[in-house]
Symmetry: none
Subunit: 413 residues, 2 copies
């Protein structure tokens, strides 16, 4: 089934905001076996929106619209929907009582513009938004569907996952699709592709293999469609086994699971407590770890020792080491591990120290130089990396490679 996306908002066209929603939706649709045919971004203009809807219906049976549902005057998606479908806008009591409760709980006054948010096109099936005021809307139209969602990413994610995708799957009557996701960490797409070349060239026609790279990780996704369910299961099982055989330890999960979640499960299994000692990653590794629900079971905390004083005063990195080898060195990374274990009583520690940039680089240690160490009371592994010239990417690569090293250490020790 073909799907089109329309994103609405001047902020996208003047480049103030990058449209990350469409990529997120594209990924989700693809995972569910739907084909995203095109993405159209238009301005907050009534005629442009109506024209975009009509063009998208020409291309696809499902049109997903994001944006333009806020309480302010520049948000005109609902008006465009009413005009396009030639329906009145009606007050939706349930939404009003939901918003009212939401505001009472937070002790915020409810404004007239919030009341306006409860007027919805008469032909809309309301999709309850648990995370914000503007509800989503599902509109059936001559055997096709238009779905309107707020552009605020987390509200859109919530509506897509909880309301829209389940309904779309029910709506969809095409051949069944199955996926097998294999999560790998530690090597890039081209290395994996070489290792899997034999499997890939022998794939049956009904199977597609996609490489979905992320920082430090690659997700492999086998998609199969058009056969009876049990035959598809058999083929995917065979593929799972042969992929595991080829990739061995590079695979950390045969389901869709973040590496930090896998590590959490390993720590729980082994009854170990973790501490992170971060410098250039600035807390991002701790953030990744604590994004996983239940991480308090194994994560004690992080010492983000951004300044050398904190490395010395809190993590007890000896002054001689900082002076002789510098903050970005194997010696400092290892001393941070020892200090972190000592300070917190953790069983295992990881440390990251490097030059995130743009400033602070030298000929010897250019921007992007990062030392990462993982260790326990008995042994420490340290490794030097050269990442990029870009600060944000260096922070992301540091945390991602820290997780890869942490997994390796947990498997080996």
């Amino acid at each position: 089934m073909n799907v089109s996306i329309i994103t609405i908002g001047d902020e996208i066209l003047i480049g103030q905001v990058v449209d990350t929603n469409s990529a997120w939706i594209g990924k989700k649709l693809n995972e569910s076996g739907f084909t995203l045919r095109e993405i159209l971004s238009v301005s907050d203009n009534l005629e442009e929106i109506k024209d975009a809807i009509s063009r998208s219906f020409n291309k696809s049976s499902v049109v997903l619209v994001t944006g333009g549902l806020g309480p302010t005057k520049d948000d005109i998606t609902k008006k465009a929907l009413c005009e396009y479908f030639n329906v009145e806008s009606v007050f939706h009591e349930e939404t009003f009582s939901r918003i009212t409760k939401m505001f009472e709980k937070r002790n915020f006054p409810i404004s007239s513009s919030h009341r306006d948010q409860c007027y919805l096109p008469a032909n809309a099936i309301v999709l309850k938004n648990d995370l914000g005021t503007a509800p989503g809307m599902w509109i059936d139209h001559h055997g096709k569907v238009l779905v309107s969602m707020p552009g605020v990413p987390h509200e859109m994610y919530h509506l897509m996952e909880e309301r829209v995708l389940p309904k779309l799957k029910a709506f969809y009557d095409g051949p069944p699709v199955k996926h097998l996701t294999i999560r790998t960490a530690g090597v890039g797409e081209s290395v994996l592709s070489d290792m899997l070349s034999e499997i890939e060239s022998n794939l049956p026609d009904c199977v597609k293999l996609a490489y979905l790279p992320d920082v430090g990780q690659v997700r492999l996704r086998f998609t199969i469609k058009g056969l009876p369910e049990n035959e598809m299961d058999d083929i995917l099982n065979t593929l799972k086994l042969s992929t595991l055989q080829k990739l061995g330890n590079l695979v950390y999960a045969t389901e869709d699971m973040a590496l930090e979640e896998f590590i959490g499960k390993e720590l729980i299994k082994k009854g170990l407590k973790l501490v992170t000692c971060e410098s250039c990653s600035g807390g991002f590794l701790a953030h990744k770890i604590t994004s996983i629900a239940g991480s308090s079971e194994y994560f004690l905390g992080s010492i983000v020792s951004y300044a050398n004083e904190i490395k010395h005063d809190v993590l007890k990195v000896p002054e001689e080491i900082l002076r002789q080898f510098g903050a970005v060195s194997q010696e400092t990374a290892e001393a941070m591990i020892k200090g972190g274990l000592e300070l917190t009583g953790a069983d295992i520690a990881i440390s990251i120290t490097g030059v995130a940039g743009p400033g602070g680089g030298t000929d010897e240690k250019p921007v992007g130089t990062v030392w990462i160490a993982v260790g326990n009371a008995e042994k420490i592994h340290a490794k030097k990396f050269y990442f990029t010239k870009d600060r944000i990417r260096n922070i992301q690569y540091s945390a991602a490679n820290g997780l890869v090293m942490l997994r390796k250490f947990l498997l080996e020790n």
Copy 2:
């Protein structure tokens, strides 16, 4: 003059890649006074590309196409251009000799697919690409223009800045556009909209006001066009003053700047060093702060005291406080401030402790309950929040509201 963008590539539609090119182009066009009317993303498919070109020419006099020019992919974009304009593809000697030199310099062999890159539509004016093999192409068509560029960001930036924008400016000088961005923190879109209702209903027709909400913050953007430059400046200045008058302290910048960047500048101005003491935000506040280049000038670090032992052992929160009031309490938040200041010698500290969820909630302290405190050696401000049921949201709201409180404290003390 209206411009349309077409981005070509399956990787965009399956969500493997976020289209950041379009936002970059949108910003550049907007700065130059051109109007980006729409962005259309389509797959690597001949018919889809030709259809996209024809639809875009219906909308705009300039069509900018990115992607589909690489050596590994078949030249689907060039093929589509030849078919759409009904022209042959011809070998471009100059491009071949440029690519040959480029490869000789790097000691790379030149492949047949690189030779294929030198076949270009006969009606194309070649735009030399100094940073890659695929040249840009400028095609005049019945008084309109199509420009084709590679999708690799830095090559596209180079072609836009050096070749395309200068030619577009010569081709057409549109009416200038000006923007005024005002950054606010602390209240939502609808409260702001109520406060600005008078200003908004008296806006001249040539001015548009957009509300761009983010977690804990709203960006206001006034856009004006079509008047002489000095008149537009006058109108925007008047709007800036009246907005500041209405919103007062809710405004933290009258330019486009993140709140964490503003806070950094304030800390530098006042010569203060900051430490963060985080529990439920799990390092995310430290991550936001350290995403700003130069933050090492004012940020000492963070103690992410996820476990109570760390609150007690490292931040010296007295055991009686943890026992009597619990980790999520005003008393603990304040003790974390005192401990953080003492431990690190910082001038100012911020602490966050709450129930991120999904577990850990009680009737008295449900998921989403968060205490945030900001303080120095003389005084501490603490505040209780009820955020959401969603873990990731609670982490983001905690950090965002922490920044809002930090700014307030810096202004008042």
